[in-house]
Symmetry: C2
Subunit: 439 residues, 2 copies
C-alpha cells in the first residue's frame, strides 16, 4: 500500500555519502521523491579531521558514522552499500557491482582521491590520506618508525627512522607536519628509553613557491613561521623526483627516511569519466551552471568531482562547505522540478578558509580578514566541532582534545596489522641478523 | 654513569604484554633489576571486552593501550616491539626477529590463540577472536551481512545473510551470541528499510552437553535460559563437522549461513615448544610449582601458556586473574632471589568466574555463591571497569555503555577494508549480474 504510493514518486539516486551527497539527501527530506543513497563504504567520514586519526590523536570511530544511522529517521531515503562502476545516462541506470539501479534524477558525489601524477609506484612508500584505511596505514607507519628506532642496534640507522617527510604543502600536508611534530615532541618523549623523540626530523616539501597556495601570501608566511616554531623544516619550490625505501629525492637534495606521507595530488573519482561529459585536467566533470551534466539535464555532479567556475572566473574550491552548498542547491532545484519549476544556477558563497597547524596554531581567512595563531585555531576548533556529525562524536572529540591538551597524552596509538614487513623496510641486506640488542 | 650502575643489575626479559607479563613487570618496579618487555604488538589488550569490539559496541582504542604508555613512569623497564621466535635456555638468549636478547631471568607470557583442531581450513569462513585485528574482521563480517541482506535482490538468499552461527559455548561464544542478538534486535532495526533485523537468526553451537562447561550446571542452565530469552538458539552436544561458504554442518543438521564465528578451541602459543620442556595436549608448558621450567630454574612460564595443577588436582584456569596472580608471584620470587632467598610455590586464589550475556544478563560464581541476571551483570560491569587499564579507557567505556543503554545506539559500527569479496561470498555462479535492484 505505502509501497504503491511510493512507487509513483520520482526516483532520486545519490552516489556518495560524503559532505555533498549527504547534504543533498538531507535537504530532500521533505520533497516527494524516493531516494536511494549508494556508497561503497558504510560510513560518512569527517575528512577534515582524518589527519588526527593518522597521527594517533583520534580514533576512527570518532570521526566516522554509519550513513544509515545518520539518515535513520528520514523515511524517504534508503541506503545501499555498493560500488557504482558506471553510469548509463542514455538508459538512466547506475551500474553497480551487484546489479543496476534505475533513476529519474541522479546526483553524483563520489569526490576525489589522491594522485601521484603518473608515479603510482610511489604509493607503496608514500601512502596518501583519503580514507579511514589510509589513516590507519599512515598511523601504523608513523608509530612503527619510533618502535623501529628504539629497537635499532645500528645507531647510524636511527636518524632515518626518526625522519618524517610529508610531500605536499596544502592544508593536509600542513596539518600532518604540525601534528607529527607535536606528537614527537610533547607526547612520545617520555615513553621511550633509548631514543629521544624530540630529535625527530619533520620535513614538509612543497613544489610551489609557498605553502597553502590556495590562500593569501600572508597566510602562507604565517603558516611557515608557525610550523618552523614547532620544529618543522619547510622546503618550498621543490619538486619531488623519486621516493623509495631509503628516502625522498627532490630537485636540490635527498632526505634519507623510511617514512613518507603523500599529501600532494588530487584526482577526481574515475566514475566521472563514465558520464561521457568533458572532464578537466584533474578528471573533474565540467558541469553547467545548475550543476547538471551537459546533455543529461537529470544528472547532477557535486562536490570535489564537479568543475565549475565562479562569476569571477576562479574555480569553486574542493572544500566541504562548497560540496554541502552544491548538495543543498541541487536538492532545492529538484524540489522546484517536482513542482514543474525551472532549475536555478549555483552560486558559491565563500565562508572563509582555515588550516590548522597545531595546538593554538592555525591560519584563517574570513572575507578580507586574515587571522593567525590562537584566534584562528579557536575558530578552527569551534567550526570543526560544530560541523562534526552526531552529538556523540562531538562529545568524544572534545573530550579527546581536552585530554590531549591537559595531559599530553594522545588517544589512539594502536599499531594494527602485520608490522614486521614495515620494520624490515630500508634494511641493507648485509647486516648480521643475530647482533645483540642488549648487553 | 647511570648506565654503568644499571648494567650491574640482573637482566629480566618478559615476553608478552598481556595480563601476566604486564603484572610481572609492574610488580618488579621496586626490585633492583633491568627489565626488557618484548611484545609483537605495541598495545596491551583488555581481552575480556574484545567481543564488544567485534559486535560494534566499543572502539578498538577503548580497550587497548600502548604498553610503553602504561609503563611510561617505571624507570627500570624498557619496551621493545619485536617477535620472539625461539628461546635458547642453554645460552640464556631470546631469539627475536631483529636479533638476540640476553637474560638472567626470563618470564614467558605469550598466552594462547584459537585452535581449529586440525581444521585450519575453517579459519577462512569462521574467524576466531583473539586480537584487535580478529575483532575488526568479525565486526566487518557481522555488519556486512546486514548490508548484503539489504541489497540482496534474491529474497530467498536473505535469510542466509541474516543467520549468524557462533561455534563454541564457552564465555566468548556466550558473550558473542548475546551481543549479536541484542544489536540485531535493539540497535540495527531502525536503520534498514528492506530487511527486518529483528528476524535475524542467531545460533550458538557447543560440542559439550552444556554451555560454559567450566562453570556449575546451574550457571550453564541460567546462561541458556537468558540467551533463549534474547532469541538465541542454543544447540549443545553438537560437534561441527564442516564449515564453508554456504553454512555449518554438525552431527544432526546443517545451518545455511554466510557468517560463522569460531569461539571453540584454544591452543597455547607455539613459543612454549621452543623451551624444550614437556607440553600438555593444548601445547601448554608443564611448569614446576614455582612456575619455573623443569631444567631451567631461571625461566618462568605464566598465564595461558602455563600448565599447572592446584593442590586439589584441578588445573589453574586460563583466566586473566590467574595470569595476573602468576605474574605477581614470579615477581615476588625474583625479588627474593635478588636478596639470595628461595623461590616459593604458586597458589591460585579463585576469586570467582563471570560470563556476561547481555544488558542486565550474566552468570557469576563467587565461592559457593551462584548469581544470575541483573546482579551478576552488575558485578561483571563493575569488575571489568575496575580492571580496565587507564582512567581514560574507563571513562570512555562507561560513557559508551551508558550511551548504548540509554539511546539504543552502538558506538563503533565502521566497516573497513575491502567488502566486495565478502559480499560475493556464498553466491551461486548462475545469477544474472544485471538484475534490477529497484524498480
Amino acid at each position: 500500500m505505502e509501497q504503491s504510493k511510493a512507487s509513483a514518486l520520482p526516483r532520486v539516486v545519490i552516489i556518495g555519502g560524503g559532505f555533498g551527497g549527504l547534504s543533498a539527501a538531507q535537504a530532500l527530506s521533505k520533497v516527494p521523491v524516493r531516494i536511494t543513497l549508494v556508497d561503497s563504504r558504510n560510513h560518512h567520514l569527517f575528512q577534515p579531521l582524518l589527519y588526527q586519526v593518522a597521527t594517533a590523536a583520534l580514533s576512527d570511530s570518532d570521526i566516522a558514522s554509519p550513513i544509515r544511522r545518520i539518515l535513520r529517521k528520514q523515511k524517504n531515503v534508503e541506503v545501499l552499500l555498493d560500488q557504482a562502476t558506471a553510469i548509463d545516462t542514455a538508459r538512466n541506470r547506475v551500474i553497480l557491482a551487484a546489479g543496476e539501479l534505475a533513476f529519474d534524477y541522479l546526483i553524483v558525489a563520489t569526490g576525489a582521491t589522491h594522485s601521484y601524477f603518473g608515479h603510482e609506484d610511489w604509493e607503496r612508500d608514500a601512502p596518501g590520506l583519503k580514507s579511514i584505511e589510509d589513516a590507519i596505514e599512515i598511523r601504523r607507519r608513523f608509530l612503527v618508525a619510533y618502535e623501529a628506532a628504539e629497537r635499532e642496534p645500528d645507531s647510524a640507522a636511527v636518524p632515518e627512522w626518526l625522519t618524517f617527510v610529508i610531500v605536499g604543502g596544502g592544508p593536509t600536508g600542513v596539518e600532518l607536519a604540525g601534528a607529527i611534530a607535536e606528537v614527537s615532541r610533547m607526547i612520545l618523549a617520555k615513553d621511550f628509553r633509548r631514543i629521544n623523540t624530540r630529535r625527530a626530523r619533520i620535513v614538509l616539501i612543497e613544489g610551489a613557491p609557498r605553502l597553502l597556495p590556495a590562500m593569501a601570501p600572508e597566510s602562507s608566511e604565517s603558516a611557515r613561521k608557525q610550523l618552523e616554531s614547532l620544529g618543522v623544516e619547510v622546503i618550498t619550490s621543490a619538486m619531488v623526483t623519486a621516493i623509495d625505501d631509503f628516502g625522498v629525492t627532490y630537485a636540490g637534495g635527498n632526505i634519507p627516511t623510511r617514512t613518507v606521507i603523500w599529501a600532494a595530488g588530487v584526482a577526481a573519482s574515475p566514475l566521472g569519466k563514465t558520464l561521457g561529459a568533458t572532464v578537466d585536467g584533474a578528471g573533474r566533470v565540467i558541469v553547467k551552471d545548475d550543476l547538471s551534466v551537459p546533455g543529461a539535464p537529470n544528472v547532477f555532479v557535486i562536490g570535489d568531482l564537479a568543475s565549475i567556475k565562479q562569476p569571477g572566473g576562479q574555480p569553486v574550491p574542493g572544500l566541504a562547505p562548497a560540496a554541502m552548498q552544491m548538495g543543498r542547491h541541487v536538492a532545492r532545484n529538484l524540489a522546484r522540478a517536482t513542482r514543474g519549476g525551472t532549475l536555478e544556477p549555483f552560486r558559491y558563497v565563500d565562508k572563509g578558509t582555515l588550516a590548522t597547524i597545531g595546538r593554538g596554531a592555525a591560519v584563517a581567512e574570513i572575507g578580507k580578514l586574515r587571522l593567525g595563531g590562537f584566534v584562528a585555531w579557536l575558530a578552527w576548533l569551534l567550526i570543526h566541532i560544530f560541523y562534526l556529525i552526531g552529538f556523540r562524536n562531538r562529545v568524544r572529540v572534545l573530550a579527546e582534545w581536552a585530554w590531549i591538551y591537559l595531559r599530553n597524552e594522545s588517544g589512539s596509538r594502536l599499531i594494527t596489522g602485520d608490522v614486521e614487513p614495515l620494520l624490515e623496510r630500508g634494511r641493507r641486506g648485509d647486516e648480521d641478523r643475530h647482533r645483540m640488542m642488549a648487553q
